[in-house]
Symmetry: C2
Amino acid sequence: MSSNPFVQCSMSWKPDRSLLKRPFYLSVARALEHDIQGGFLAADTRLPTQRELADYLNLNFTTITRAYKICEQKGLIYAVTGCGTFVSPGAACSITISKDGLSGDCIDLGFVASFEECNHMIVENARAVIGKCYVEHLFNYHDPTGILHQKKAGLNWMAAFGLRAEAEQVAIVSGSQNALAITLLALFEPGQAIAVDGYTFSNFIELAKMHHIQLIPVPGDNHGMLPDALERRCRLNNISGVFLMPSCCNPTTVMISDDRKKELAAVIDKYQLITIEDDSHAFLTAGIVEDYRQPLFQLLPERTVYVCGTSKPICSGLRVAFMVFGQNFKEKVCRAVFNVNVKTSSMDAEIISDVILSGKALKVVEEKKRLARCANDLFDQYFPEAAGAAGHPLSFYRWLPISKNLGCEVEAVLKRQGVRVFHSSRFLVGHGRGGQFLRVSLASANSLERLSTGLKILRANLRRSRGGN
Amino acid sequence: MSSNPFVQCSMSWKPDRSLLKRPFYLSVARALEHDIQGGFLAADTRLPTQRELADYLNLNFTTITRAYKICEQKGLIYAVTGCGTFVSPGAACSITISKDGLSGDCIDLGFVASFEECNHMIVENARAVIGKCYVEHLFNYHDPTGILHQKKAGLNWMAAFGLRAEAEQVAIVSGSQNALAITLLALFEPGQAIAVDGYTFSNFIELAKMHHIQLIPVPGDNHGMLPDALERRCRLNNISGVFLMPSCCNPTTVMISDDRKKELAAVIDKYQLITIEDDSHAFLTAGIVEDYRQPLFQLLPERTVYVCGTSKPICSGLRVAFMVFGQNFKEKVCRAVFNVNVKTSSMDAEIISDVILSGKALKVVEEKKRLARCANDLFDQYFPEAAGAAGHPLSFYRWLPISKNLGCEVEAVLKRQGVRVFHSSRFLVGHGRGGQFLRVSLASANSLERLSTGLKILRANLRRSRGGN
DNA sequence: CGATTTGTGTGTATACATTTG
DNA sequence: TCAAATGTATACACACAAATC
């Protein structure tokens, strides 16, 4: 049931009329899915308009609407009012980024780890915890959202970023990704829409897709999402929430300035959006970037779920994040925490608490900042043209503009050369016109030497493929 | 916009016509939600039929269909073709069961813990792990689905239950509840339906509600769900999956016999259902119950997600469960694991692996079985009329029939007397006619003495409120 | 800026399947 | 066994909103 490749000037997709069966809308949806999955329709191909296809198939155009809707919900296509319906890029394949499936030789500049070479620093904290007399009390079902002194340790940690809250507003969960999954499940319904940056955290994109939550891209500048643009989308799109990473947007490294936070807060308040603030990078920003004052949570304490993971600053293998929320979200969030996790390992939470309260956390952060500074300097040496760009000075990753000639195939090319990086298409929401980039992780190579080797390979390959550009 | 209480013989619900605004279907849905949440409509009240209400409001009846559908998806009402539409019991309130929110004096026979008095037995395993030279490698982002030797430890553990699979079919996740959340997210879409026992695991009910997955109750007998009844529901209801706890259904303690497993497998295969097999209780059943042979997974390896948590047999505070699945589910499940957890704490998984491989797990299980036997004997002494009932002989909880005069208010009454138990309404799917029960946890009182005290209070109160019954 | 194209939201008609008596 | 009651599935008409030219 594929399109006829010889008829080009007319519709890009012509399902076989004779194969249509009742119910028509399912039949059409299946045919379209088949042809997209089978590779007969390339990414971003414009499909026939609803009315065109309806005429062609002798159906009412709203029947086509329905067929298209099914495919849209599966992520196979996307529609823009007034503009048309298009085949999604990467419809068939996942954009989930994980540490899995990488051979040992390949230098990983793709997945953003967190300078894992620091992990030895917390071994002694783990030993201290396990040596405590009350350790067996960490092995029971109690305190599903965390033990009080652990929550207080979290508040202590977050106070450095200007966050002020009560322990009863805190829940300990299993990492920031886990916190995001819980937040979507707790506070959003399938079919609702959340505003995000045009390029945003790819795991959030995937999570939203799984929950059937639509993401609406909102333009931004060097200080973050544009309040006017957000307001415009709110007026037009019936938006329920907004997702922001104020301290260092992943992947663009943009930080939201304090003034911008206030302007955004005004719009968020006006439209009563639920704000998801992933502030896991605050440790890199508070006290370092001059303009930093406080998280959005402080401006909108009743509208915000604040997420602060300890994977990046402290240790990635102990799965701990702190969630902070207003009283109005408490019941729903706690119920979702219970339904998804029952509880987070008290052992992990206890070790993280010990690292924080003993002052070790600050030492680890100091070391990671030192490594981040070295890594960023190294990057600037290899890519001096990117050195002056706006963005976070100590980010664990960089956002490198590349030639428009390169598609997302560069990933495969570079992997064959021994480095893994991720192309901007993985982070793109909607149909992007923002140019092409690579996200280059600086925190995953395991040593500055390996990072240097990786960057060298990267530069060599981009120079070559760039050609006369 | 509530109904007029003085007009009783006609429709049970009469929204105020004058308050109707466009869009009508939303307006009607909101009014209905308001009146249910406000308590104006009692549980199981029969609502006007779609056509009745449409006439009354001068709308097309399919507009009412739509309004009712919205409320149904929120779990506020349920509809039965040919029969009518009804207000859901417990529409407004949550049935999530957790360890939270219980004062210290109250004896907990509600939440099913796992004889936490055994936890001291694994402290030495935790110390052994933390003492190992490779411990810092447990603190990184690697191996999101678990380290190979940990998966092999899991397979070793599950081999005792007759499960045979390859390590690549295994993912380590953060407890069996976490596994269920991941499975729903990975393999089901909002709006799909899953067949379950008429009384089933309340946290699964909540999880399904959050994911907007409909649960269809299927009748069963002392050997588990009835295959004919399942087939009938499949024919009628467009069912996508089935959830089973073969080794010991929570809350009923029913075990699925080996013959029944084969009959169910035939139906499941015929209708291509996705089977979710929560077999965390297998350690209580394999080798103990004569009829036990193997899990459903072995009969339907390509249609089953097998979930085996270690909270009950080994330790509840270390959050580990093993998921086993066919190759066809692998990609989707692993992606969901990553999107929900990134990874499970390698420390927790390593300690559990050590407990299994060192043989300590068997000792812990022996001790828990001994305690379970004592606890069940104790229960039989206090409730001799329940002693002969079918069900698991070593279950960590019992399913106690109570007088029909008692509603779910008994929970509150008993709590005031110092014991927490859960009423069958928390476990009920659909509109139950199966009598009233209490689920009495035997594994949470922290000692047999406290359990005995709790059971005594329970018996005294049931006797009294039972009256002449 | 206004007309046109294109997708979305809402209300309706009709055929059908299940339950009940 | 059948007819009536009742919810469900499917297709369509039409008003509207956004994007484009």
